[in-house]
Amino acid sequence: MTNTFPPRLSIVSKALGEHHAAHTARKAENKNALDRGEELLKRILGPDAEHATLSDDFEGVLFELDEMEFLFFEGATPEDDYFQVALFGLVCPRAVRTLAGVGHALDEIIERIRITVEYIHENLPV
């Protein structure tokens, strides 16, 4: 921490500059969202990624695998790319980039299902 602060918005400006540079580099690389999505999916699932199918029923990049859905979001750099995982139509908003992250998202979805089912049971008429 320091008392000598930089001019206002200079770090904001740096971040915006970095974003524009990354955007230009991305265009030059000529990779689309599907390429980036496939790369991240392979990194997360390893050889299991080959079983994933690309949904043709969706405008963006959505992979389906083992009852799960992986919705891809392209970030400023590959490091900012992520998936949102859905199970039985329930989407976990958590950004996922690893297999353990997928487990974390599934854990949260299953907990939501458990709470919902418990609530339904408690409120069923006797």
């Binding site: 930089p6 770090i11 974003h19 079983h51 083992d66 690893t98 353990a100």
Partner: protein, 142 residues
């Protein structure tokens, strides 16, 4: 027992099970004496590491905001150059991210790099722009 195979060359729910086992192994290995995964120390160390990675030497200008009213909320909030950054602990350091708030706009994009921060700032500006456009037309929500 005869081996059953699905038409997809893997048994149903096996990949889900792999992912959940991986997460469980991590939570167990990182539990503290009270059996908690998300401890204030764990969260603070991971947040500092990601903040350092994003901002480099500019990290010295970040200020940690503590709020006594929100003791249950372990997610640290940093302020740097008019930006608010709330840390989200992931399953592994690679799943960690920040969420930005800028001039009261809160884009949902998770941030893990300086370029990602710039992209989130652009999202925030779009939110502000849209809000003011609606306001001019008298359609803004109070």
């Amino acid at each position: 027992m005869p081996e059953t195979k699905s038409p997809f060359q893997y048994l149903p729910l096996t990949i889900m099970s792999k992912a959940m086992t991986e997460f469980e192994a991590i939570t167990i290995s990182q539990m503290n004496a009270q059996g908690l995964f998300e401890t204030p120390e764990n969260v603070k160390i991971r947040a500092d590491a990601l903040l350092q990675k994003i901002f480099g030497e500019d990290v010295q200008f970040a200020i940690l905001i503590t709020n006594g009213d929100e003791d249950d909320d372990l997610a640290p909030l940093f302020v740097i150059d008019n930006m608010g950054l709330k840390f989200m602990l992931g399953a592994t350091p690679e799943d960690d991210c920040f969420h930005l708030s800028f001039l009261s706009a809160k884009p949902v994009r998770p941030i893990r790099s300086l370029a990602g921060m710039g992209m989130a700032l652009m999202d925030a500006m779009d939110i502000i722009d849209e809000h003011f456009s609606l306001h001019e037309m008298g359609l803004a929500e109070e």
